[in-house]
Amino acid sequence: MSRFFNSMRDGVGFDLILVGAAMLFLLALAGLPLVYNVLMSFQQVDMFTLGSLIRPFAGFTNYVAVVAQPEFWLVTKNTLIFVFASMAGQFVIGFALAIFFAQNFPGASTIRGLFLVSWVMPGLVVGALWSSILAGDFGVLNFLLRSVGLIEGTIFWKSDPNFALWAVVIANIWLGLAFNMLLLSVGLAAIPRDLYEAAELDGANAFQRFWTITLPMMRSTIGAVMSLGLIGTLQQFDLFPALTEGGPANTSTVAGYWAWQMSFQLYDFAKGATISVMMFVLVLFASVVYVRSTRHEVRG
């Protein structure tokens, strides 16, 4: 018994307690709901059995039905576009801003701080705001674009099948920029200055320094930003009902919104769960990428 207490104070036991407490908490409050969703995707669910675990077994019929939906491939395509475009936009602009604000000029850190406001804005508010900004006729974005001569007519951001998904992407990039810039700034600051000085002495130009020092040194940060960004993007929900409701004709419906729509607008809980389980596969992939990227980290 005393060995047990000793290990708690001095050995692996202490680590196990620290990790175990958090893990148990997560398993109970995030793991069980996950299992519930997986279970539900193999069952027939109706309003009377929503609260119980034992329901008629449905095999893969829910999966077959989801794939057979006429909008399935459209939604898959939209999801991929939405995820890649949002992540690329957030990452590239976020990285550019992080590098820009790492320069030495007056007010750099103060102004950088202002860019973090999208972090504190609740999703509902952001959705309502962008809905008004992106409106076709009375929307202020079109007005501004027309004023500077970038466009001639009116772009119906929310109603044109060619633009609807991009409207949500724009709003989502705005929303996720703060997060990307913040994390990348942290990563940049951790790179030792002397590495750059040495490279400069060797005659490396700015572009070479970026490729040979910045990117490799930030490998783990980039991995973390990417995987958290992927999860954040897949979870994005508030913008869809506020901007397009997935329309016109499902051209801006993505998997997360579709799952919600199945469960909470069409009241087909089994199909909603099935779509969410399918999304899981995507993220499984992302997590593998992240964990692999951290494997090569060196402790400072």
Partner: protein, 275 residues
């Protein structure tokens, strides 16, 4: 960088970028002061024709926003407390070792965050109902939202711990400290900045928690401000200027705190690197 005007050019560019980025925020304040139909006017007006600030006190009292805001503060504090207490230890251990098990742990933590809250809410509601937690709705929301915030916190704080030199901890152990002692007297103080900043960020995003609160908390007097906002969205009416006024009241205090703290937030995270 010998040319002296370059920093000022950069400053100008930075201000221009910030103006573009913060435009939606400006739009929120302007829209709240417009009349219902001016919002739909084409071309849009950049300054309300007849600004009416009386909407702010009106919305505040009509929607009993004091109660809503207080509940938001309570819930966000609870979420932050649980996340920090459980997440810090977890992040420390995950930063301390390199092994397949650690990889697996990180993997698990990320995977558990995958499902959107809107899909998690039904099972959570059913589970909370079974154990009677629905009778303590704010506690239930705090637990559920903390689970959602945890992975993000762990990943960020883990990075902070990784930058604490291991030699310092080992030296403390050699000096006769226990693991517990070394953790609290050496490692935690060194990582304090990073933890504090992540806690603030967690608090801020929990302040906007919506999906769990709206389903779990049925009593209006216990609901947070986000749920109060959804009351403006009716079947055949959307009171845009009230929504914007409410939003402005909702986010302004937190923006103010944020602007005051932001230098410390940014430098806290960046200097957490200790390089």
């Amino acid at each position: 960088m010998t040319r002296p005007y370059v920093p000022w050019l950069l400053l100008g560019l930075a201000l221009a970028l910030a103006a573009v980025y913060l435009f939606p925020l400006y739009w929120m304040y302007v829209t709240s002061l417009k009349t219902g139909s001016e919002i739909f006017a084409n071309p849009p007006t950049f300054w309300p024709m007849a600004p009416d600030p009386s909407i702010y006190p009106a919305v505040w009292t009509r929607r009993t926003m004091g109660t809503f805001m207080w509940n938001s503060v309570l819930i966000a504090s609870g979420v932050t407390a649980i996340t920090v207490v459980l997440g810090t230890g977890c992040a420390y251990v995950l930063a301390r070792y390199r092994s397949a098990w650690i990889d697996f742990g990180l993997f698990l933590i990320l995977m558990l965050q995958v499902l959107p809250a809107s899909v998690m809410i039904t099972p959570l509601f059913v589970g909370f109902n079974q154990i009677g937690l629905l009778n303590y709705p704010r506690t239930a929301v705090v637990l559920a939202a903390a689970a959602k915030a945890m992975p993000f916190f762990v990943v960020l704080v883990r990075a902070t711990f990784m930058s604490v030199p291991r030699e310092l901890e080992e030296a403390a152990l050699v000096d006769g400290n226990s693991r517990v002692g070394a953790f609290f007297s050496i490692v935690l103080p060194l990582a304090r900045n990073g933890i504090l900043v992540c806690a603030i960020l967690t608090f801020m995003s929990a302040f906007g928690e919506y999906i769990y609160s709206k389903s779990i908390i049925q009593d209006t007097s216990l609901q947070p401000a986000s749920v109060g906002l959804s009351g403006f969205l009716g079947p055949n009416s959307t009171d845009w200027n009230s929504i914007m006024a409410y939003s402005a009241i909702y986010v302004t205090p937190i923006l103010a705190v944020f602007v005051l703290l932001q230098r410390r937030i940014v430098s806290g995270l960046t200097s957490g690197a200790l390089k």
